[in-house]
Amino acid sequence: MKKIKKQSVRGLLEKWQKDFSVFVPSKASGSSQMAVWDGQDLAFLDRNRNTVVPPKANFLPNIEKMFGFRKEEDGYVLEPADEDAPRQLIFGIHPCDARAIAIIDMVFRDAYEDKYYLSRRQNTVLVGMACAAPYDNCFCTSLGFGPADATDVDIMLTDIGDSFVIEEITDRGKEAVAGAKDVVEATPADEKKAGEVKASARAMLSKEIDTDEIAKRLPAAFDDKSFWEEIAAKCVSCGICTFLCPTCYCFDINDEMLKDGSGARYRNWDCCSFAVYTRMPAENPREEKWRRVRQKVYHKYSFYPELFGIIGCTGCGRCIRQCPVNWDITETLNNLPAGSAARTEEKQKPS
């Protein structure tokens, strides 16, 4: 392992700025998100908290131009967006958010490659920060990893007070650190301290779900309409639990046009909490709110494992922290009905 003194991090960030757009956790307008480092502010070095807006926005921006178009005499001409994304380095991503990116990679790699997303993904270095102070509503340890898991980052940093211990996880990470000034070998004492920081963060996590028990109960709970109606009763369908979810990736596609006939096609985050999301001229499979709440839970805990072999949730706790009506997904998951087969009889005939 290596280390760098906090006072020298500015130099490291400046080195990275030569090769990358450097994104750091930034506070803005009462929220926080990964934003381009201004070259000055280093307050984020001591904050070590998850941003409100998850770093998925660095790969799937909330609004993204897919292509432009203009009308010429002999018809429309498309102006494809630059397919090669600029190189970016995201500094201070927590293990849960890095895991979330690895999770949504599966969707964007599946069958048809999503050039926009994958181009950003391929041109990104993830500099992780071991989580030292999880929130009360975090439950990452229940999802098979933990606040210091380095599986999904290129470089892992651990805050040991006056320094960061550096673990180079991937070749890409090694390359990014190579030749950096002020990066020195960590001492055994540093490594021990890093270990203690990681362990103490893990010990702070008290919220738990039992994914085995949940997997057992989900099939029968699906048809328990009254259970879902009760859960959904207080939901206001605001969508915040999806917009701020680091693994929610659904999007809409929309066109904008100017008077001269030129314009662009955009995609923007969309949300299964909205009835219009699935509404068709004649029917809507999820017009009822309880179906939409159920969709949110099942997409993460049932459909995603079915399709990709992994739960589509990282336990980051954002959906709990930001919910205006205090819905707690872990309460729902921990209280799934044990199930009776009789309910399946109510299943509708297919259309």
Binding site: G261, G263, F303
Partner: protein
């Protein structure tokens, strides 16, 4: 039989970005009903025009640049590649804008996406096509596909209905199939209407009356959800097993390639795993949001 099989899927033709539409030109417009028009179109790019292939049942994302995209099947047959066709009911922003376009206007097309009707499974069997309203559009692609390879299939029954005589789509096809001695064509409307001398009654009831044999047969059903819902039990009564019944599902879609999220029925994504499913598969879905 698993129709929702990846081997059944045709890959997007163009390399690279599946979100970029191909520009196509409208060559002809047919007024099918007061609310439905069929558009004949061809790609502007000569090379694409020659190389483009699709299979009956597949769909595309059609766009009017600046207005947006909407999802329709290709309603023409891959056996007739002189041009492509799509039939569009005027219901929303994009379809209204499409209805205002004239011959020569340019549209965007992404596709073909999704799986297709299982021609191999249907070969050598008697075929029963049951359609209602604009639901004939995807079946029409398949029917012409079958009729253009007539020797490969057994008897062909077509049962088609609409609310009123004016709501019957593809009247020129209905006439052609009436005349075709290898086709047993039944057309019906929901209620008595002036100058209508044909069958009267809902599609499921008329299907029961026509009573096609289930022996070595496949039924392909497409129409409004309510029609499909009532037709499956009739076919079951006639002896069709769920594996012998095929339909194509409709869901709101945006991307067409399994990313944008909204067309799921549980873990099934209609754009990626469908839109063609057997009733057996539908019955096995874990979700009731069909």
């Amino acid at each position: 039989m698993t129709i929702a099989d990846i081997s059944h899927r045709k890959r997007y033709l163009a390399e690279g970005n599946a979100y970029l539409p191909h520009i196509a030109v409208i060559e002809k417009i047919i007024n099918e009903t007061p609310t439905v028009k069929t558009f004949h179109f061809n790609f502007k790019d000569e090379k694409l025009r020659k190389e483009f292939t699709f299979e009956s049942g597949q769909f595309g994302e059609y766009s009017i640049l600046g207005v947006g995209e909407a999802t329709f099947c290709v309603s023409s047959s891959p056996t007739r590649m002189d041009h492509l066709e799509c039939a569009v009911a005027r219901v929303g922003k994009v379809t209204n804008a499409l209805h205002r376009l004239g011959v020569g206007a340019e549209i965007g097309f992404r596709g073909p996406f999704g799986n297709s009707f299982p021609l191999d499974y249907m070969a050598g069997k008697d075929l029963v096509f049951v359609a209602g309203g604009i639901g004939l559009a995807p079946l029409r692609s398949l029917i012409w596909n079958v009729l253009d390879n007539r020797a490969k299939y057994g008897k062909v029954d077509i049962i088609y209905g609409a609310r009123t005589p004016r709501d019957l789509c593809f009247k020129y096809d209905l006439e052609a199939w009436e005349k075709d001695s290898s086709v047993n064509m039944t057309t019906t409307v929901d209620r008595e209407a002036p100058d209508w001398t044909g069958n009267v009654g809902f599609v499921p009831a008329v299907t029961e009356k026509v009573a096609p044999s289930a022996k070595n047969a496949v039924a392909i059903v497409c129409g409004p959800p309510i029609m499909i819902r009532f037709t499956f039990p009739v076919l079951e009564k006639l002896g069709f097993t769920p594996a012998q019944m095929i339909t194509t599902l409709e869901k709101r879609m945006k991307c067409g390639i399994g990313k944008c999220g909204r067309c799921n029925i549980g873990e099934i994504y209609v754009c990626r795993d469908g839109p063609v499913f057997s009733y057996e598969e539908i019955k096995s879905f874990s979700s009731d949001e069909v």
